[in-house]
Point group: C2
Chain length 500, copies 2
């Protein structure tokens, strides 16, 4: 591609990125500081920006630029990546008729209302018809984008491009087979007790800020505020904010949330923004993003050395707490078989995700009817987790995702855990002082490794390729299982049987 053409293309795509950054700031404001009465106006503002961004993406010039890029493959890694990333988004947006976009938007709106009502009354019947519509429309959308491929893979691609249905099916089946005996072994061991509260909120905020900064979060390019649900943003250069939801009763879930969002934000803060408009200056996938949050939250943040460092930090902020590192380590790693995904620990969490993945796949492969979802859900919870939902509100209706047709989203959570385990295993080998560093609160070398192998790569390659380049041919499922057995062995005394 000619330099002038490339400059025109990146200027054009840069505008889309800037508009998306603005939408990010407005979204952050909406969840943190926006006055209640501005809600209607904010919707109008976001709708306008969204339209402006969409118009730019489907501009016919983009098609021409894309053809020019694709006519000369292998010219330069950034241009090749741009052809791949842009081509996918462009075809997704162009392939779907505005009529279908409208029908989906309406179904999502109906879906959300129906889901609220169904969950309130724990009555799946209320949600079933619109869920059927959402599945049908999503299948229609997948076919419009690429009729030659597995519809679920086309949907999955919105979140985790480069990941195939087959690889997920195989990894998740092996992971499930390995997790079930681990969870049974833990259930047979004596239970661990949670930390008692209350914990004064101002002190918690100071502790959370200190921990985030300690991990390497740059507060000059971000900030930490309160919101109902914790989230992180990456609006573009110098602006990656995080939020936390702290409560007096639960020190560790608030802090875990902050470490999680810090992990996301460290990724955003490490992406080179010099490549504005090339599609390369962005995170490579939801799963890879989640690997960064989970790596810090779980692999590092629930380790025994981290518990040692954290116990000191807690003691500084809560001098009368008398919390020792061992008690903290055990509280950080409590496992409990529960019904609710968002409250799950890091071991059982993956089974919650796998249930949803298997059900979504069965729906899209026509092996399961919407009306049979509650029974299938309950059966899987019984078999995998040993718990049975007493009603649909605490079962199949618990998550908002399906009401918005976000099929293919759930797998990224567990993909993140899988990648994180392989990053951890690789780092243990590459950095012999890893756990000493963690115990002393020195996270710089760990962050530097992630900056080199993950953050700094941006979206030059697809996530599975980035991970492979970073960790070699490691088996993510085995890495995750080995890590969980080892960690839980230290807490519950469980021992991995051979052959599991």
């Amino acid at each position: 591609m000619e330099d002038t053409e490339w400059a025109a293309l990146t200027a054009h795509l840069g505008e889309i990125e800037i508009l998306e950054g603005i939408m990010g700031v407005l979204g952050w404001d909406e969840q943190t500081f926006m006055p209640r009465k501005a809600a209607g106006l904010r919707g109008t503002q976001q709708a306008l920006l969204s339209r402006l961004s969409h118009e730019r993406l489907v501009d016919p010039r983009v098609g021409a630029w894309l053809a020019a890029l694709e006519a000369h493959p292998d010219r330069d890694v950034v241009q090749n990546a741009c052809a791949r990333n842009l081509g996918r988004t462009y075809r997704r947006e162009r392939g779907v008729s505005s009529d279908l976009v409208d029908r989906l938007a309406r179904a999502r709106s109906d879906g959300f209302q129906a889901w609220i009502e169904a969950k309130k009354t724990s009555n799946f019947e209320v949600f079933a018809p619109v869920l059927q519509r959402l599945v049908d429309l999503s299948r229609e959308r997948a076919a419009a984008i690429d009729p030659s491929r597995h519809p679920y893979e086309v949907l999955l691609e919105q979140f985790d491009p480069g990941t195939s249905v087959e690889s997920l099916r195989s990894m998740f089946a092996r992971l499930r087979a390995g997790l079930v005996p681990l969870i049974e072994a833990i259930a047979a061991a004596p239970a661990q007790t949670p930390l008692a509260g209350p914990w004064e909120l101002e002190r918690q905020w100071a502790l959370n800020r200190e921990v985030a900064a300690g991990l390497g979060y740059d507060f000059e390019g971000g900030r930490l505020d309160a919101s109902e649900h914790p989230f992180s943003t990456g609006h573009g250069e110098g602006d990656a904010r995080i939020t936390a939801h702290l409560t007096p009763d639960d020190l560790l879930s608030g802090l875990g949330g902050t470490i999680h969002e810090t992990g996301h934000a460290l990724y955003e803060q490490g992406i080179p923004r010099s490549l504005l408009g090339t599609t390369v200056g962005e995170a490579a996938s939801f799963g890879l993003h989640e690997s960064q949050s989970r790596f810090w939250e779980n692999y590092i943040g629930r380790s025994r050395p981290f518990a040692g460092w954290l116990a000191d930090r807690i003691h500084t902020h809560f001098p009368s707490s008398r919390l020792d590192a061992d008690t903290l380590f055990r509280a950080l790693n409590r496992v409990e078989r529960g019904l609710i995904r968002v409250k799950a620990d890091e071991v059982t969490y993956n089974l919650h995700v796998i249930v949803r993945f298997e059900l979504e796949l069965a729906l899209f492969e026509g092996r399961l009817a919407v009306k049979d979802l509650p029974a299938a859900w309950n059966e899987k919870y019984r078999t995998y987790l040993g718990v049975t939902p007493p009603d649909d509100a605490r079962g199949v209706l618990q998550d908002v995702h399906w009401s918005g047709a976000a099929f293919g989203y759930f797998p990224s959570y567990t993909l993140g855990n899988l990648y994180a385990a392989s990053f951890g295993a690789t780092l243990e080998a590459a950095l012999p002082t890893l756990w000493d560093d963690v115990g002393r609160g020195h996270f710089g070398d760990i962050l530097a490794w992630l900056r080199t192998h993950v953050h700094g790569v941006g979206h030059r390659f697809e996530a599975p390729e980035i991970v492979k380049n970073a960790v070699g041919g490691r088996d993510h499922v085995e890495d995750l299982l080995a890590y969980l057995w080892r960690r839980q062995g230290a807490v519950y005394g469980v021992v991995r049987p051979s052959g599991v």
Copy 2:
């Protein structure tokens, strides 16, 4: 105009208003919470939104709609107002070539840098050449917009449409003649002492919030945060935020700032937003906006009854302060002849503004050369205020405005005081319980009067017409002078001589 055409026009103009609202939110964020490192990105975001807004305004369809509106005058008050407001903005933006826009932008950027340097070294020579360029380019711009009119009036119109140079010249001359003897009389009286500090900041924030809410500010459609310089925003429906700069030493200037910004925000919260895209759902002028802030800050906020109410509020938040209402009233109304406009009290403030207006006018009428500005400045300060700047940093270089070519902006401050005095005089007659209400902290009837006569009118009429409809044929200069003599009589014991 046909209904469908009108609908298309208002939808189009609505987009401009929404884009401006978004720029407002981003600007608010920039001055309150934005991470330092996001500054570059924020500039890029604002520049893009600014361009999108400008493109919409100069769209040729706007010209066609405008012609259609103007072809049928007197059809309906909103459409007539739209023709007037839009016509002015459209011709201003279309009349100025993009070459001139670029040259002005460059001169502003150079001007700001030169001003910073000149002020630091107190060396006007550094600023003079670029100030000359800014004056020349502004005159060129005024001629491009309308060569038949006084260039200063064309510039003034950006801030106070509907106000003529002649009306300002005459009002400001009479006001100056009346203020000089008042200030001399005050200077001859015993000085008043300021309040001693310190005042704990958290308690100040609570007090400021209580006062703003007490005046009628709706915190569900706004919020109060900290910023280096206090400001208020009106982003559109349900979103009118204010900020304050509170310091431990100075309770009253922080609180005065909050009341000032509350006055601005009450205006924004009272504008009917149902008229999106008509140009009518906006404030009518900078001067009218300033009248709202000054009315609450000075006319109400420095009155003896208000001091009574405020002393109780202060006592609640600072139980040990023992501040009595009379002491507070005197401290609220201290007058001091100083060099710096932004630190001036409400009496001398107007002379600071009049100096600038007279100098701007002389520059644009060719009666004064840029090189002679410092001498002219110092002479006016000596004659009007009885003080002589020891250097240009504390003289002609003190304000940022001219470095950005904001000629015609200063008068709105004093226009605001003039209008506010006539609103006050009218309210005293219309609402016999006015001062009792203020003393009891009941501001609802005052706000209701402003909502009816000012806020609710939006931009249906030009500001001078709105004021005239509200107060009748009152003489604003006389109202302001009478009010100031009366107020200062109660504080300093000064008595207005007959004939002044």
